[in-house]
Symmetry: C2
Subunit: 339 residues, 2 copies
């Protein structure tokens, strides 16, 4: 186990890398903790939850909505949860998003931490403090930026993960490579998904590398005034089509990254769009895709990163160097028409 601390604006976050789930008892304590998980994670790791106060939610992005928040809050009241309670989200990104959000609003804010159980949650969703829920087709329309007290990374939890979930995680890993880390882009080109699944050492290094990339960006710009926007690479179009077509998050942003790479080619002289697409394919992710451009454009106009006439689109100057590019909607509409 390797412990590291990072100081955010109003909270120090403890990262326990390469740790065991059992460590949770020392960190949170069975008395004051309430674990929040979903049916899949609970079924796959039933023994681990023994003796813990646990709330089990329905699994999947479709339940990342207010109704689930209502259910969770009612259960917390019934359990007598108070301001000394610590909520621990044990699950993928949906669980960590909902748990962090509810911890932020229950009794005007209680303590919380995460045990991410999916690759995507480990490298992305669980760290950085963003949480929230979807409203209709609009992803994360409601939420907070509020840091957890701790993150516990137990890589053995990944052993029950289906292939599609591994691909999901690699979409965010490739994103990090594209915007920040050309050397990791190369590493990913040389390695493969089956190799990472087999080689625990290689995987542990990869997870930690990605957590640190994201953490560094967030430390520089916790409330997304500048650099943090880069993490939205692939997410603008991605979010627009994710709920429209019931794509997984990884699939959606993979398509989003593909088109962002093509736009980068046109506007920034980016030369490696083909390499980006090849890498996404190598990890089982979709690239070019048919979608209703008019409808996607309409959803995109409600994106959080926009104002009335323009949107911040994340483009690539070169592999490993993302940039924030303000684009007028009229301009973007023209570009969309070509696809």
């Amino acid at each position: 186990m390797k412990k590291r601390s990072f100081q955010f604006s109003s909270k120090t976050v403890q990262y326990y890398f390469d740790a065991s789930f059992d460590l949770l008892e020392k960190i949170a304590g069975k008395e004051r903790a309430v674990l929040v998980t979903d049916e899949h994670v609970f079924a796959a790791h039933k023994k681990k939850f023994k003796g813990w106060n646990t709330i089990v939610l329905k699994p999947g992005e479709a339940f990342k909505v207010q109704q689930t928040v209502d259910v969770l809050i009612d259960q917390l009241i019934d359990m007598g949860a108070d301001r000394k309670t610590i909520l621990v989200g044990v699950g993928g990104g949906v669980i960590t998003d909902i748990t962090g959000y509810v911890a932020g609003i229950y009794m005007r804010g209680i303590d919380f931490g995460f045990v991410p159980t999916s690759l995507l949650a480990m490298v992305d969703a669980s760290n950085g403090g963003k949480n929230g829920i979807d409203v209709g087709v609009y992803k994360n329309m409601v939420g907070l930026i509020r840091q957890p007290s701790f993150l516990l990374y137990d890589y053995s939890l990944l052993s029950s993960l289906p292939l599609a979930e591994w691909q999901n995680g690699f979409a965010e890993i490739i994103k990090h490579a594209c915007i920040k880390d050309a050397a990791m882009f190369k590493l990913l080109q040389e390695q493969s998904l089956p190799k990472f699944r087999k080689d625990k050492q290689l995987l542990a290094q990869l997870v930690e590398r990605n957590v640190l990339i994201k953490t560094k960006v967030v430390l520089n710009d916790e409330f997304e005034q500048g650099e943090r926007k880069l993490l939205n690479f692939g997410h603008t179009l991605g979010h627009a089509i994710e709920n429209m077509y019931e794509l997984s998050h990884g699939q959606a942003i993979s398509i989003g990254m593909t088109y962002a790479a093509i736009i980068s080619q046109q506007l920034k002289g980016f030369k490696e769009a083909d390499a980006v697409m090849a890498l996404l394919s190598r990890y089982g992710l979709p690239t070019l895709a048919e979608f209703d451009k008019k409808k996607a454009f309409k959803v995109l106009q409600k994106d959080k990163k926009k104002d009335s006439v323009s949107i911040h689109y994340i483009l690539l100057e070169k592999t490993g160097k993302g940039v924030v590019q303000p684009l007028l909607f009229v301009q973007l509409e023209e570009i969309f028409k070509q696809f």
Copy 2:
């Protein structure tokens, strides 16, 4: 108009005392502002809302619930509200609470300010950054602590206020006197509600004095680790019975203050419980009352200020000096039985 700035943990709040509603155009701007109000306030001040984007909610504490939040968020999405939008709550405490809460969670937080239109909202609810909604019988069970950008006090808005609303406001004013300001307690004993309603100058001084009492307490302890708890004087029992009996907030905390004064007599040797009751009566507020002690005690056990065995009760050592007193539930139950 008198402008003052106060620096909270992560925000400077501008207070515009004795200002005119028209100033709002300079502060917020009609382009980026969305006003949130209720049917009563809208009907009473229709002309003022002309030319402003306005969302009109149903009035009353019964609507300080998640369903209203859902409606408000859907309307903001429909209006195309984005991260540059500023929400302005124009109304009483219910409106400022909901507006502040929605501003805190919409798109993970947008700007907001308040124009309080009731005496209670002016002296209490609108300042200090606490916001939230009720869950079932539990008051403010969900919410945030997040400061507005500005507070605009236009005393002319109070002219349409019914008597019951004046009494509501005086309940919080008497609370401030009890816990912090013996001189104001004396002033209130000498003056009367009709006098404050008539004398604009006297009223303006009283509002400002109360805003500054509360602001000072909040500045010392924004996240309620210590001194801010004093502001809950009368609110522990008050909140428990408020939704149980559909009392106004002022009535509920007036009864709460009465019993807290009696407990103070027993545990702290407080000598002026009679004077507290007399002052509450002078301002048309109820004191001793019949209520279901068992049920109230049960609701109280879910209060935000409690842990599993005890609760922080606010008592008085003398007039103008409140103290935080941890009380065991078993102890409190015995005390309740005597009432």
